[in-house]
Protein backbone atom coordinates (compact mmCIF):
# COMPACT_ATOMS: atom_id res chain seq x y z
CA UNK A 1 0.00 0.00 0.00
CA UNK A 2 2.81 2.40 0.86
CA UNK A 3 4.10 2.03 -2.70
CA UNK A 4 0.71 3.06 -4.05
CA UNK A 5 0.53 6.14 -1.80
CA UNK A 6 4.02 7.25 -2.78
CA UNK A 7 3.42 6.50 -6.45
CA UNK A 8 0.26 8.58 -6.47
CA UNK A 9 1.98 11.47 -4.69
CA UNK A 10 4.75 11.30 -7.30
CA UNK A 11 2.11 11.50 -10.02
CA UNK A 12 0.45 14.48 -8.33
CA UNK A 13 3.80 16.22 -7.96
CA UNK A 14 4.35 15.67 -11.68
CA UNK A 15 0.98 17.32 -12.42
CA UNK A 16 2.08 20.35 -10.37
CA UNK A 17 5.34 20.59 -12.31
CA UNK A 18 3.54 20.34 -15.64
CA UNK A 19 0.93 22.84 -14.45
CA UNK A 20 3.72 25.38 -13.89
CA UNK A 21 3.61 25.86 -17.67
CA UNK A 22 0.29 27.66 -17.20
CA UNK A 23 1.85 30.13 -14.73
CA UNK A 24 4.78 30.70 -17.08
CA UNK A 25 2.58 31.23 -20.13
CA UNK A 26 -0.30 33.15 -18.60
CA UNK A 27 -1.61 34.89 -20.67
CA UNK A 28 -3.66 36.91 -18.14
CA UNK A 29 -2.98 37.51 -14.44
CA UNK A 30 -6.16 35.59 -13.58
CA UNK A 31 -4.78 32.50 -15.36
CA UNK A 32 -1.61 32.57 -13.29
CA UNK A 33 -3.47 33.03 -10.01
CA UNK A 34 -5.85 30.23 -10.92
CA UNK A 35 -2.97 27.83 -11.56
CA UNK A 36 -1.42 28.69 -8.18
CA UNK A 37 -4.79 28.00 -6.56
CA UNK A 38 -4.95 24.61 -8.27
CA UNK A 39 -1.53 23.71 -6.88
CA UNK A 40 -2.87 24.36 -3.37
CA UNK A 41 -5.51 21.64 -3.80
CA UNK A 42 -2.98 19.20 -5.28
CA UNK A 43 -0.51 19.91 -2.48
CA UNK A 44 -3.18 19.09 0.12
CA UNK A 45 -3.73 15.73 -1.59
CA UNK A 46 0.04 15.03 -1.67
CA UNK A 47 0.36 15.87 2.02
CA UNK A 48 -2.52 13.57 2.95
CA UNK A 49 -0.99 10.72 0.95
CA UNK A 50 2.51 11.26 2.33
CA UNK A 51 1.08 11.43 5.85
CA UNK A 52 -0.62 8.07 5.33
CA UNK A 53 2.51 6.55 3.73
CA UNK A 54 4.80 7.53 6.62
CA UNK A 55 1.99 7.22 9.21
CA UNK A 56 2.99 10.65 10.47
CA UNK A 57 -0.12 12.42 11.74
CA UNK A 58 1.61 15.80 11.82
CA UNK A 59 1.44 15.95 8.02
CA UNK A 60 -2.36 15.97 8.16
CA UNK A 61 -2.09 19.08 10.31
CA UNK A 62 0.05 20.66 7.60
CA UNK A 63 -2.63 19.67 5.07
CA UNK A 64 -5.32 21.25 7.25
CA UNK A 65 -3.34 24.49 7.48
CA UNK A 66 -2.89 24.48 3.69
CA UNK A 67 -6.62 23.94 3.24
CA UNK A 68 -7.31 26.96 5.48
CA UNK A 69 -4.94 29.22 3.57
CA UNK A 70 -5.46 28.21 -0.08
CA UNK A 71 -7.92 31.05 -0.47
CA UNK A 72 -5.85 33.88 1.03
CA UNK A 73 -3.54 34.60 -1.92
CA UNK A 74 -6.42 34.55 -4.38
CA UNK A 75 -8.46 36.89 -2.15
CA UNK A 76 -5.49 39.27 -1.95
CA UNK A 77 -5.33 39.09 -5.73
CA UNK A 78 -8.96 40.02 -6.32
CA UNK A 79 -8.87 42.77 -3.67
CA UNK A 80 -5.77 44.24 -5.27
CA UNK A 81 -6.20 47.83 -6.22
CA UNK A 82 -5.35 48.55 -9.84
CA UNK A 83 -6.13 52.26 -9.71
CA UNK A 84 -2.64 53.80 -9.85
CA UNK A 85 -1.76 52.05 -13.12
CA UNK A 86 -4.91 53.36 -14.76
CA UNK A 87 -4.20 56.85 -13.47
CA UNK A 88 -0.71 56.66 -14.89
CA UNK A 89 -2.05 55.70 -18.28
CA UNK A 90 -4.47 58.62 -18.22
CA UNK A 91 -1.67 60.99 -17.24
CA UNK A 92 0.38 59.68 -20.14
CA UNK A 93 -2.48 60.32 -22.52
CA UNK A 94 -2.92 63.87 -21.27
CA UNK A 95 0.76 64.79 -21.62
CA UNK A 96 0.93 63.18 -25.07
Amino acid sequence: MTGLYLGLSLLLLATIVLGLVRILRGPTAADRMLAAQLFGTTTVAILLLLGQATSNQALWDVALVFALLTAIAAIAFVRRDLEPEQNKKEDGDVSA
Binding site: T2, G3, L6, G7, S9, L10, L13, A14, I16, V17, L20, I23, L24, G26, A29, R32, M33, A35, A36, F39, G40, T43, I46, L47, L50, N56, Q57, A58, L59, D61, V62, L64, V65, F66, L68, L69, A71, I72, A73, I75, A76, F77, V78, R79, R80, D81, L82, E83, P84, E85, K88
Partner: protein, 328 residues
Amino acid sequence: MTLLFGHLIDLLLAVSLTVLAWRLLATSDLFKATVLFIAFGLLMALAWVRLDAPDLALAEAVIGAGITGVLLLTALRHLDSGARVARMSGRSGRRSLRVLLPALGIMPALLVLLCLSSPHIRSTAGLTASVIERLDQIGTDHPVTAVLLDFRAYDTLLETAVLLLAVVAVWSLHPVRPIFSPEPISPAQRGLLRLLLPVLIMTSLYLFWRGSHAPGGAFQAGALLAAGLLLLLLSEQRLPGRWSGMFLRLLLAGGFMIFLLVAAGALVGTGTLLDYPGGGASWLLLSIEAALSLSIAALLATAVIGGRPSDRSTEFPPRRKDPAGEEG
Protein backbone atom coordinates in the same frame (compact mmCIF):
# COMPACT_ATOMS: atom_id res chain seq x y z
CA MET B 1 9.44 0.03 -5.26
CA THR B 2 8.63 2.22 -2.27
CA LEU B 3 12.24 3.37 -2.08
CA LEU B 4 12.35 4.12 -5.80
CA PHE B 5 9.22 6.29 -5.63
CA GLY B 6 10.67 8.12 -2.65
CA HIS B 7 13.90 8.84 -4.57
CA LEU B 8 11.97 10.01 -7.60
CA ILE B 9 9.86 12.39 -5.48
CA ASP B 10 13.02 13.84 -3.93
CA LEU B 11 14.71 14.23 -7.30
CA LEU B 12 11.65 15.83 -8.94
CA LEU B 13 11.20 18.24 -6.00
CA ALA B 14 14.85 19.29 -5.99
CA VAL B 15 14.96 19.84 -9.77
CA SER B 16 11.67 21.72 -9.91
CA LEU B 17 12.66 23.96 -6.97
CA THR B 18 15.82 24.94 -8.86
CA VAL B 19 14.06 25.51 -12.18
CA LEU B 20 11.30 27.47 -10.45
CA ALA B 21 13.84 29.73 -8.71
CA TRP B 22 15.57 30.36 -12.01
CA ARG B 23 12.33 31.19 -13.86
CA LEU B 24 11.00 33.45 -11.11
CA LEU B 25 14.21 35.46 -10.94
CA ALA B 26 14.64 35.60 -14.70
CA THR B 27 11.26 37.12 -15.54
CA SER B 28 10.77 40.87 -15.61
CA ASP B 29 6.99 40.54 -15.17
CA LEU B 30 6.72 41.10 -11.44
CA PHE B 31 3.23 39.63 -11.09
CA LYS B 32 4.40 36.41 -12.73
CA ALA B 33 7.42 36.35 -10.41
CA THR B 34 5.09 36.73 -7.42
CA VAL B 35 2.83 33.85 -8.41
CA LEU B 36 5.87 31.69 -9.14
CA PHE B 37 7.17 32.59 -5.68
CA ILE B 38 3.92 31.39 -4.10
CA ALA B 39 4.32 28.09 -5.98
CA PHE B 40 7.94 28.00 -4.79
CA GLY B 41 6.66 28.24 -1.20
CA LEU B 42 4.32 25.28 -1.79
CA LEU B 43 7.17 23.14 -3.08
CA MET B 44 9.43 24.22 -0.20
CA ALA B 45 6.77 23.00 2.24
CA LEU B 46 6.76 19.63 0.46
CA ALA B 47 10.56 19.53 0.63
CA TRP B 48 10.42 20.07 4.41
CA VAL B 49 7.94 17.20 4.64
CA ARG B 50 10.32 14.93 2.73
CA LEU B 51 13.16 16.04 5.02
CA ASP B 52 11.05 14.95 8.00
CA ALA B 53 10.68 18.42 9.46
CA PRO B 54 6.90 18.96 9.88
CA ASP B 55 7.49 22.01 12.09
CA LEU B 56 9.17 23.75 9.18
CA ALA B 57 6.50 22.52 6.76
CA LEU B 58 3.84 24.14 8.97
CA ALA B 59 5.73 27.43 9.13
CA GLU B 60 6.41 27.40 5.38
CA ALA B 61 2.76 26.58 4.62
CA VAL B 62 1.56 29.60 6.60
CA ILE B 63 4.33 32.03 5.70
CA GLY B 64 5.76 30.96 2.34
CA ALA B 65 2.50 30.06 0.66
CA GLY B 66 0.14 32.37 2.58
CA ILE B 67 1.42 35.57 4.19
CA THR B 68 4.27 36.29 1.76
CA GLY B 69 1.79 36.01 -1.11
CA VAL B 70 -0.41 38.70 0.45
CA LEU B 71 2.63 40.89 1.18
CA LEU B 72 3.94 40.70 -2.38
CA LEU B 73 0.54 41.10 -4.05
CA THR B 74 -0.25 44.25 -2.05
CA ALA B 75 3.26 45.64 -2.60
CA LEU B 76 3.08 45.11 -6.38
CA ARG B 77 0.67 48.02 -6.67
CA HIS B 78 3.36 50.43 -5.57
CA LEU B 79 6.29 48.74 -7.27
CA ASP B 80 4.86 47.49 -10.54
CA SER B 81 6.30 49.86 -13.09
CA GLY B 82 9.41 51.38 -11.60
CA ALA B 83 11.61 50.92 -8.55
CA ARG B 84 14.89 50.06 -10.16
CA VAL B 85 18.29 50.77 -8.75
CA ALA B 86 19.52 54.16 -9.87
CA ARG B 87 21.67 54.12 -12.97
CA MET B 88 24.34 56.56 -11.80
CA SER B 89 26.83 54.13 -10.32
CA GLY B 90 25.24 51.23 -12.12
CA ARG B 91 27.36 50.90 -15.28
CA SER B 92 30.87 50.62 -13.91
CA GLY B 93 29.67 48.71 -10.86
CA ARG B 94 27.95 46.09 -12.95
CA ARG B 95 30.90 45.72 -15.27
CA SER B 96 33.24 45.04 -12.40
CA LEU B 97 30.74 42.51 -11.09
CA ARG B 98 31.09 40.57 -14.33
CA VAL B 99 34.52 39.50 -13.10
CA LEU B 100 32.62 37.36 -10.61
CA LEU B 101 30.74 35.45 -13.31
CA PRO B 102 33.22 32.55 -13.67
CA ALA B 103 33.23 32.16 -9.90
CA LEU B 104 29.42 32.10 -9.88
CA GLY B 105 29.56 29.24 -12.37
CA ILE B 106 32.40 27.16 -10.95
CA MET B 107 31.72 27.43 -7.22
CA PRO B 108 28.23 25.91 -7.22
CA ALA B 109 29.34 23.13 -9.60
CA LEU B 110 32.18 22.18 -7.24
CA LEU B 111 30.00 22.38 -4.15
CA VAL B 112 27.23 20.30 -5.70
CA LEU B 113 29.75 17.64 -6.74
CA LEU B 114 31.22 17.61 -3.26
CA CYS B 115 27.79 17.37 -1.70
CA LEU B 116 26.64 14.51 -3.92
CA SER B 117 29.85 12.50 -3.88
CA SER B 118 31.15 12.66 -0.35
CA PRO B 119 29.47 10.41 2.21
CA HIS B 120 31.63 11.80 5.03
CA ILE B 121 30.07 15.22 4.86
CA ARG B 122 27.40 14.13 7.31
CA SER B 123 29.39 11.90 9.59
CA THR B 124 28.65 13.68 12.87
CA ALA B 125 25.98 12.31 15.15
CA GLY B 126 24.31 15.68 15.69
CA LEU B 127 22.63 16.99 18.80
CA THR B 128 19.45 14.89 18.78
CA ALA B 129 20.64 12.56 21.53
CA SER B 130 21.75 15.33 23.89
CA VAL B 131 18.48 17.22 23.42
CA ILE B 132 16.33 14.14 24.09
CA GLU B 133 18.47 13.20 27.09
CA ARG B 134 17.68 16.50 28.82
CA LEU B 135 14.09 16.68 27.69
CA ASP B 136 12.56 15.53 30.98
CA GLN B 137 14.15 18.43 32.86
CA ILE B 138 12.14 20.88 30.77
CA GLY B 139 8.42 21.41 30.73
CA THR B 140 7.87 20.12 27.19
CA ASP B 141 8.05 16.83 25.30
CA HIS B 142 8.68 18.14 21.83
CA PRO B 143 12.41 18.55 21.07
CA VAL B 144 12.01 21.52 18.70
CA THR B 145 9.94 23.47 21.24
CA ALA B 146 12.50 22.65 23.92
CA VAL B 147 15.35 23.97 21.75
CA LEU B 148 13.41 27.12 20.89
CA LEU B 149 12.39 28.04 24.40
CA ASP B 150 15.11 26.57 26.56
CA PHE B 151 18.43 25.49 25.04
CA ARG B 152 18.62 28.29 22.53
CA ALA B 153 16.29 30.77 24.20
CA TYR B 154 18.77 33.55 23.37
CA ASP B 155 18.02 33.05 19.67
CA THR B 156 14.30 33.25 20.24
CA LEU B 157 14.58 36.31 22.47
CA LEU B 158 16.67 38.11 19.88
CA GLU B 159 14.37 36.94 17.10
CA THR B 160 11.40 38.66 18.73
CA ALA B 161 13.59 41.76 19.06
CA VAL B 162 14.38 41.58 15.34
CA LEU B 163 10.68 41.28 14.47
CA LEU B 164 9.94 44.31 16.62
CA LEU B 165 12.76 46.26 14.94
CA ALA B 166 11.41 45.32 11.51
CA VAL B 167 8.00 46.76 12.40
CA VAL B 168 9.68 49.90 13.81
CA ALA B 169 11.61 50.24 10.55
CA VAL B 170 8.46 49.84 8.45
CA TRP B 171 6.58 52.36 10.62
CA SER B 172 9.36 54.92 10.45
CA LEU B 173 9.33 54.94 6.64
CA HIS B 174 5.83 56.18 5.92
CA PRO B 175 2.31 56.47 7.33
CA VAL B 176 -0.02 53.68 6.30
CA ARG B 177 -1.84 53.95 2.99
CA PRO B 178 -5.14 52.41 2.02
CA ILE B 179 -4.10 49.00 0.76
CA PHE B 180 -7.14 47.58 -0.94
CA SER B 181 -9.56 48.70 -3.59
CA PRO B 182 -12.75 50.52 -2.60
CA GLU B 183 -15.08 48.38 -4.70
CA PRO B 184 -17.60 46.45 -2.62
CA ILE B 185 -16.52 42.93 -1.78
CA SER B 186 -18.44 39.94 -2.98
CA PRO B 187 -20.93 38.50 -0.47
CA ALA B 188 -19.43 35.08 -1.24
CA GLN B 189 -16.11 36.29 0.17
CA ARG B 190 -17.84 37.49 3.32
CA GLY B 191 -19.49 34.10 3.69
CA LEU B 192 -16.18 32.30 3.22
CA LEU B 193 -14.61 34.50 5.89
CA ARG B 194 -17.43 33.74 8.32
CA LEU B 195 -16.79 30.06 7.77
CA LEU B 196 -13.00 30.02 7.68
CA LEU B 197 -12.20 32.33 10.57
CA PRO B 198 -13.58 30.24 13.45
CA VAL B 199 -11.90 27.10 12.07
CA LEU B 200 -8.69 29.08 11.64
CA ILE B 201 -8.70 30.27 15.25
CA MET B 202 -9.49 26.76 16.50
CA THR B 203 -6.64 25.34 14.39
CA SER B 204 -4.32 27.96 15.77
CA LEU B 205 -5.22 26.99 19.35
CA TYR B 206 -4.83 23.33 18.41
CA LEU B 207 -1.33 23.94 17.00
CA PHE B 208 -0.43 25.90 20.14
CA TRP B 209 -1.56 23.01 22.32
CA ARG B 210 0.15 20.40 20.12
CA GLY B 211 3.44 22.28 20.43
CA SER B 212 4.09 20.88 23.88
CA HIS B 213 4.40 17.31 22.58
CA ALA B 214 4.33 17.26 18.76
CA PRO B 215 5.08 19.46 15.73
CA GLY B 216 3.36 22.81 16.17
CA GLY B 217 3.85 25.51 18.76
CA ALA B 218 3.86 29.21 19.46
CA PHE B 219 5.44 30.32 16.18
CA GLN B 220 3.18 28.38 13.84
CA ALA B 221 0.10 29.28 15.88
CA GLY B 222 1.09 32.97 15.83
CA ALA B 223 1.74 32.94 12.11
CA LEU B 224 -1.63 31.27 11.47
CA LEU B 225 -3.35 33.93 13.60
CA ALA B 226 -1.55 36.60 11.56
CA ALA B 227 -2.94 35.01 8.39
CA GLY B 228 -6.40 35.16 9.98
CA LEU B 229 -5.93 38.86 10.75
CA LEU B 230 -4.92 39.51 7.15
CA LEU B 231 -7.97 37.59 5.94
CA LEU B 232 -10.11 39.94 8.08
CA LEU B 233 -8.38 43.01 6.66
CA LEU B 234 -8.87 41.72 3.12
CA SER B 235 -12.59 41.63 3.82
CA GLU B 236 -13.08 45.26 4.83
CA GLN B 237 -12.68 44.74 8.57
CA ARG B 238 -10.50 47.32 10.23
CA LEU B 239 -8.99 48.06 13.60
CA PRO B 240 -10.90 51.01 15.13
CA GLY B 241 -8.83 54.10 15.81
CA ARG B 242 -8.87 53.83 19.58
CA TRP B 243 -7.24 50.38 19.37
CA SER B 244 -4.46 51.27 17.00
CA GLY B 245 -2.75 53.46 19.58
CA MET B 246 -1.37 52.17 22.85
CA PHE B 247 -3.21 48.84 22.66
CA LEU B 248 -1.59 47.84 19.38
CA ARG B 249 1.85 48.93 20.56
CA LEU B 250 1.52 46.93 23.78
CA LEU B 251 0.47 43.90 21.79
CA LEU B 252 3.45 44.27 19.46
CA ALA B 253 5.98 44.63 22.24
CA GLY B 254 4.26 42.27 24.72
CA GLY B 255 5.95 39.03 23.73
CA PHE B 256 9.41 40.55 23.82
CA MET B 257 8.74 42.34 27.11
CA ILE B 258 7.43 39.25 28.92
CA PHE B 259 10.28 37.13 27.58
CA LEU B 260 12.76 39.76 28.76
CA LEU B 261 11.09 39.96 32.18
CA VAL B 262 11.35 36.21 32.62
CA ALA B 263 14.97 36.28 31.50
CA ALA B 264 15.77 39.03 33.98
CA GLY B 265 13.85 37.21 36.72
CA ALA B 266 15.93 34.11 36.06
CA LEU B 267 19.06 36.25 36.27
CA VAL B 268 18.04 37.50 39.69
CA GLY B 269 16.83 34.10 40.90
CA THR B 270 19.47 31.70 39.62
CA GLY B 271 22.30 33.99 38.58
CA THR B 272 22.13 33.01 34.91
CA LEU B 273 20.17 34.78 32.17
CA LEU B 274 17.30 32.64 30.83
CA ASP B 275 18.01 29.74 33.20
CA TYR B 276 14.50 28.82 34.30
CA PRO B 277 14.00 27.49 37.83
CA GLY B 278 13.33 23.75 37.82
CA GLY B 279 9.77 23.43 39.12
CA GLY B 280 7.98 26.28 37.42
CA ALA B 281 9.49 25.74 34.01
CA SER B 282 6.36 24.28 32.42
CA TRP B 283 4.11 27.09 33.63
CA LEU B 284 6.67 29.73 32.68
CA LEU B 285 7.18 28.27 29.21
CA LEU B 286 3.43 28.26 28.63
CA SER B 287 3.02 31.93 29.56
CA ILE B 288 5.98 32.95 27.41
CA GLU B 289 4.57 30.94 24.51
CA ALA B 290 1.12 32.50 24.81
CA ALA B 291 2.53 36.04 24.85
CA LEU B 292 4.85 35.20 21.95
CA SER B 293 1.99 33.81 19.83
CA LEU B 294 -0.15 36.92 20.21
CA SER B 295 2.82 39.21 19.64
CA ILE B 296 3.99 37.34 16.55
CA ALA B 297 0.49 37.44 15.10
CA ALA B 298 0.31 41.21 15.58
CA LEU B 299 3.90 41.79 14.40
CA LEU B 300 3.58 39.79 11.18
CA ALA B 301 0.21 41.33 10.29
CA THR B 302 1.39 44.93 10.91
CA ALA B 303 4.62 44.31 9.00
CA VAL B 304 2.59 43.12 6.00
CA ILE B 305 0.19 46.10 6.13
CA GLY B 306 3.23 48.40 6.03
CA GLY B 307 3.16 51.90 7.48
CA ARG B 308 2.33 53.35 10.87
CA PRO B 309 -1.20 54.18 11.98
CA SER B 310 -1.40 57.87 11.22
CA ASP B 311 -4.07 59.40 13.36
CA ARG B 312 -5.84 58.32 16.47
CA SER B 313 -9.24 59.07 15.04
CA THR B 314 -9.01 56.99 11.84
CA GLU B 315 -9.20 53.29 11.28
CA PHE B 316 -6.14 51.16 10.70
CA PRO B 317 -5.50 50.58 7.83
CA PRO B 318 -7.51 53.50 6.39
CA ARG B 319 -10.28 53.19 3.85
CA ARG B 320 -9.75 54.33 0.29
CA LYS B 321 -12.34 56.86 -0.82
CA ASP B 322 -14.69 55.61 -3.47
CA PRO B 323 -13.81 57.44 -6.72
CA ALA B 324 -17.48 57.45 -7.77
CA GLY B 325 -18.42 59.10 -4.48
CA GLU B 326 -15.83 61.82 -5.02
CA GLU B 327 -17.22 62.75 -8.39
CA GLY B 328 -20.78 62.96 -7.06
